[in-house]
Symmetry: C2
Subunit: 256 residues, 2 copies
C-alpha cells in the first residue's frame, strides 16, 4: 500500500522531487520520521521513545512530527504498513512462480521473516504492548485494520492461485484462519532466540504442508460438523473484532 | 498440592496449631506472606511490588520473607501452586459426578475461572511478564514445571475417567494438548473485559464439545497422517520446553 501510494504520487510530478527519488517532500519527511522512530525503538526500546525525541533526532519540529503521526501508536501503524508493503512485494515474487499451496504458504510465511528480521531486536519489548487486544497496537485492533486487511488479502491471493479443494463453507473464512496461523508464527518469532530465528523458520516450514493438508481434508463429510463448529467459534470469539461486526452472515443461533 | 501438604502436616500434629486451623507456624507464615503479596500485586501492580514491601506489610523481617520465597518469582510460583490446588479441589467435585468427556472438560475449564476470578484484576499486567517463554513466570518455564505437571495430570484424570476412543498414538500427548487449549482459554480470560468474564466462560463452554469431538475424530484413518504431523510439530516446537527433553519417544526423523 505504502509502495503503491508512493509511486502514484511520484507519477503526478511531485514538487521538489529529485531525479532518482521521485517522491514529494512530504513523503520524504514522513519516511524520515518513521525510520528515525524505528531506529530509536531499537536503541532505547519502544516505551522509552517519545515523540519529542523522534522529532529532535529527525531534525523536524515536534508540531511537524505530530502532523504526520498523531501519536506514537500511529508510528506503529506506519511501521505495520511499511513491513506489510515490503512483505507483499517479497511474497509476490514467490506467488508468481508457485502453484502448489504448501509452497505458496511457505513462501508467504518465510518472506515475512526475511522482511521483519531487522526489527527482531525490539519485537519482544514491543509485544508487551501489542498483546492486549484492546491496545491500538494489537493486530486485532480497529487501528490495525488496514494492515490486517492487506495481510489477509495476501493470504487470499496465496489460496486463490493454488489448486485448492477445501470445504466451500470454509472458503470465505479461510484467509482469516491462515492469518491467525501467521500471527501464531509471529508470536513464536517474537520470543525466538535461535540464531537467525531458525526455529521460527523451521516451524513455518513444517506447518505450511500441515495447513495445506488440513485445507484439503476439510472437504470430508465426516469432518463437516467439526469444521462448522470451529468456524462458528472463530466468528463469535476470535474474529469479530478483527473483521468488524457486519458483513458476515450467521444464520442460526450459536451452537451450544 | 498445597492443600494436601497442609492436611498431611496438620495430621502429624503441628506445634502451635489451634483447633480450627491445624497448621504449623511455618505454614501459616508462608501463607501470610503469599496472601500479602497477592494483595499488593492487586493494589500496586506486580512490577511495583517489592519483596521488602511484602515483608513489611506482612509484619515479618525481610530475611524471613526471603527464607520462604527466594525471589518475587518464587512468590508467583507459590501463587500458581495455590491456584492449582484450589482448582483441583473444585474440578474434582465435577469429575466425581460426570462421565461424559465434554462435561468433564467443561467442568475443568469453568472451575478454573471460578478459582481465578479474585486475581483477574492484576492478570493483564502480570501477563506482560509471563508471556516470554524464557521468563520464570511463563507457564512453559522450568520453574513452572510442578504447577504445569499438576495441571496436565488433572486433564489426564478428566480424560481417563471418560468413555474416550481417540487415536491411541495421540493418547499419551493428549493431556498436554488439552493443557495448551486451557492456556489459550487463560490468555483469552486475561484480556476479557466482559462482566464476570462471561465471554471466556462462553468460549470454554463452546470449545469443550468441539475438543471432545476432535478427540473422537482423531481415530479416523483418513486423519491419521494429519494427527501424526500435528503431534510431531507439537513435540518439536511447542512442548519440548514444557515436557523436558527426555522421556518422549520419537523414532523417525522429523517430518519435512
Amino acid at each position: 500500500m505504502a509502495g503503491e501510494a508512493k509511486d502514484a504520487e511520484g507519477a503526478v510530478g511531485a514538487p521538489g522531487g529529485g531525479a532518482p527519488r521521485r517522491r514529494p517532500k512530504s513523503e520524504q519527511t514522513r519516511t524520515l520520521i518513521l525510520e528515525t522512530a524505528l531506529r530509536l525503538f531499537e536503541e532505547r526500546g519502544y516505551d522509552r521513545t517519545t515523540m519529542r525525541a523522534v522529532a529532535s533526532e529527525a531534525g523536524v519540529s515536534v508540531g511537524n512530527a505530530y502532523y504526520y503521526f498523531a501519536s506514537k501508536e500511529h508510528l506503529v501503524q506506519g511501521f505495520y504498513e511499511r513491513i506489510g508493503a515490503e512483505h507483499r512485494a517479497a511474497a509476490r515474487t514467490v506467488l508468481a512462480q508457485e502453484r502448489n499451496l504448501t509452497e505458496r504458504l511457505r513462501g508467504v510465511y518465510l518472506t515475512w521473516f526475511d522482511v521483519a528480521e531487522p526489527y527482531h531486536g525490539f519485537a519482544a519489548q514491543f509485544f508487551r504492548n501489542a498483546a492486549d487486544p484492546d491496545s491500538p497496537l494489537s493486530p486485532f485492533s480497529p487501528e490495525s485494520r488496514p494492515a490486517r486487511e492487506a495481510a489477509v488479502a495476501l493470504l487470499r491471493e496465496a489460496l486463490s492461485g493454488a489448486r485448492v479443494n477445501g470445504d466451500p463453507e470454509l472458503a470465505e473464512l479461510l484467509p482469516e484462519v491462515l492469518w491467525l496461523h501467521q500471527m501464531g508464527l509471529v508470536l513464536y518469532w517474537v520470543y525466538d532466540r535461535s540464531p537467525g530465528c531458525s526455529r521460527s523458520r523451521a516451524l513455518a516450514d513444517r506447518t505450511a504442508p500441515l495447513t495445506a493438508r488440513a485445507v484439503a481434508l476439510s472437504r470430508w463429510r465426516v469432518l463437516r460438523p467439526l469444521v462448522r463448529d470451529v468456524r462458528h467459534v472463530l466468528e463469535d470469539f476470535v474474529l469479530p473484532t478483527a473483521a468488524g461486526a457486519a458483513g458476515r452472515g450467521r444464520d442460526g443461533p450459536p451452537h451450544t
